[in-house]
């Protein structure tokens, strides 16, 4: 995978900012992991909160939905960052295009970058969530593993989707335009 190697190389150029960029997704992922792994806590709270004939399961589902929304918001932040990354590397994209690199590969370079941010955020989030859970009742290992898998999967998919749109823009630029692009 030539594009993946290229992505990793560009990431090494700015290793610290990669962690910063996955921060939002990380925070959201921590909450998602917590909510998915601590179903008993969430259910107990939902039951306590169910007012006058409201089904507790509605509140429980609302909690899970809100954490997913949080991940989407975090991923949108990655999308915003990617628009900047793409613009910054416009000259680079132009050179790659002029050298005959395929559009698909250029798309993949940026899509991978967003995906890596998402994965990093997901993993960091799970670690953070695990730390949060040290203060409460410990969940079952199987349940925690399932929650971690869902969280990381969700973070990766949503971030890659958000990064795909700026990556498409990078792919569509013509070589001449891209080389002469300045902001």
């Amino acid at each position: 995978m030539r594009s993946l190697r290229y992505t990793l190389r560009t990431l090494r150029r700015s290793g610290r900012s990669a962690v910063l960029r996955s921060f939002s997704v990380g925070v959201a992922a921590a909450l998602t992991f917590f909510v998915l792994a601590q179903t008993s806590t969430v259910r107990a709270q939902a039951e306590q909160l169910s007012v006058g004939g409201i089904d507790a399961s509605v509140l429980e589902r609302a909690t899970v939905c809100l954490t997913v929304i949080a991940i989407v918001v975090g991923a949108l932040q990655i999308g915003v960052t990617m628009t900047r990354v793409v613009l910054r590397r416009m000259g680079e994209i132009g050179i790659l295009k002029a050298a005959g690199i395929r559009n698909r590969e250029i798309f993949l370079v940026f899509a991978f970058e967003a995906l890596i941010y998402g994965a990093l955020g997901g993993v960091l989030g799970c670690l953070l969530g695990a730390v949060m859970m040290l203060f409460g009742p410990a969940p079952e290992l199987g349940e925690a593993m399932r929650a971690a898998a869902i969280t990381i999967g969700l973070a990766v998919v949503v971030s890659a989707a958000a990064g795909a749109i700026p990556a498409l823009r990078a792919m569509r630029a013509s070589a001449v335009e891209a080389i002469s692009y300045a902001w």
Binding site: S24, A28, T63, L66, I69, L76, Q77, G79, A162
Partner: protein
């Protein structure tokens, strides 16, 4: 002014993808937090209605030593245990007590000077408190008495009912749901600020040219109008979406007043976002000389 709006719109169009991302992030996060706030206000409203019924206008509220619990399903306050049978007679015989009536397992006491009666109750061995978050009597006390009216207290800023409401609201905001809602808003806030910072940084060169020909204040206005439009649109969409979501998921709690209160609470964030995302960075950028701005780009 229309010129500024037009310019702002053309700047939105320059970065369509980023504008769309920022708007979506803000909309989602505002919707999430409106939902949580509306829920906590509805929660508070049902709690205070039940409390009003239970208090029945009394000055002192004597409940069993185990306190009372609020049963959400029936929307009623239920006693944990019962007060001793002879307590009503004993309280009635205290000086200053005008009326004692028993409710569902508790006593409602009216008095001329509630504070004095409270002291006497303490003398009888009851635990007396004005703090609604206190739910149990001391060990060995026959009952727990809440001092409801504290009109004579000069520094009592919060009444017993307000305190009770606060305890109720706290239950929502301290729950996972409340935390998730607020964190989502914070993330939305972050992404808006990040996006505004990026768009300022991107236009550094542009600002440099404008500053070189002497246009500085107008640039600030232009940027402020542009950011205000983004934040305003996102918040309004989010408020509507959040209210809609609440009406859809919890139709029995939906009241326009509840939702309006929640919307009011969330709107407070608008100026904060504007100041941190637009005013401060743009102002800082414009403090530089045009030469620095032009040179610094790239």
């Amino acid at each position: 002014m229309p010129k500024l709006v037009k310019l702002a719109l053309s700047n939105w169009r320059r970065q369509r993808v980023r504008t769309a991302f920022t708007l979506t992030a803000l909309t989602l996060s505002a919707a999430a937090v409106v939902f949580v706030y509306a829920l906590s206000i509805a929660f508070q409203a049902t709690g205070s209605k039940a409390l009003e019924n239970a208090l029945a206008g009394s000055d002192l509220w004597i409940v069993p030593p185990g306190g009372v619990t609020f049963d959400r399903a029936d929307q009623k306050i239920l006693p944990n245990g019962s007060v001793p049978g002879d307590l009503a007679e004993r309280v009635r015989s205290l000086p200053g007590v005008t009326e004692v009536s028993s409710g569902r397992g508790w006593l409602n006491v009216k008095a001329d000077d509630p504070r004095a009666v409270a002291e006497e109750l303490r003398g009888v061995g009851l635990t007396v408190t004005g703090d609604p978050s206190r739910t149990r009597a001391d060990a060995g006390a026959p009952a727990l008495a809440y001092l409801v009216s504290r009109s004579s207290g000069r520094f009592a800023a919060y009444s017993f009912t307000t305190g009770f409401e606060a305890v109720q609201v706290n239950k929502v905001t301290a729950s996972v749901l409340g935390v998730v809602g607020r964190v989502t808003l914070a993330l939305g806030f972050l992404s808006v600020v990040a996006s505004l910072l990026i768009s300022i940084e991107e236009r550094r060169h542009e600002f440099g040219i404008l500053a070189a020909v002497g246009i500085t204040d107008d640039v600030l206005y232009l940027f402020l109008v542009e950011s205000a439009m983004i934040i305003c649109t996102g918040l309004v969409l989010g408020l509507v979406a959040g209210a809609g979501l609440f009406a859809l998921l919890l139709p029995s709690l939906f009241e326009i007043g509840t939702v309006l209160k929640a919307v009011g609470l969330v709107s407070v964030y608008f100026p904060i976002m504007l100041i941190f995302g637009a005013l401060i960075p743009a102002h800082r950028l414009l403090q530089r000389t045009p030469l620095e701005l032009l040179r610094g780009a790239h």
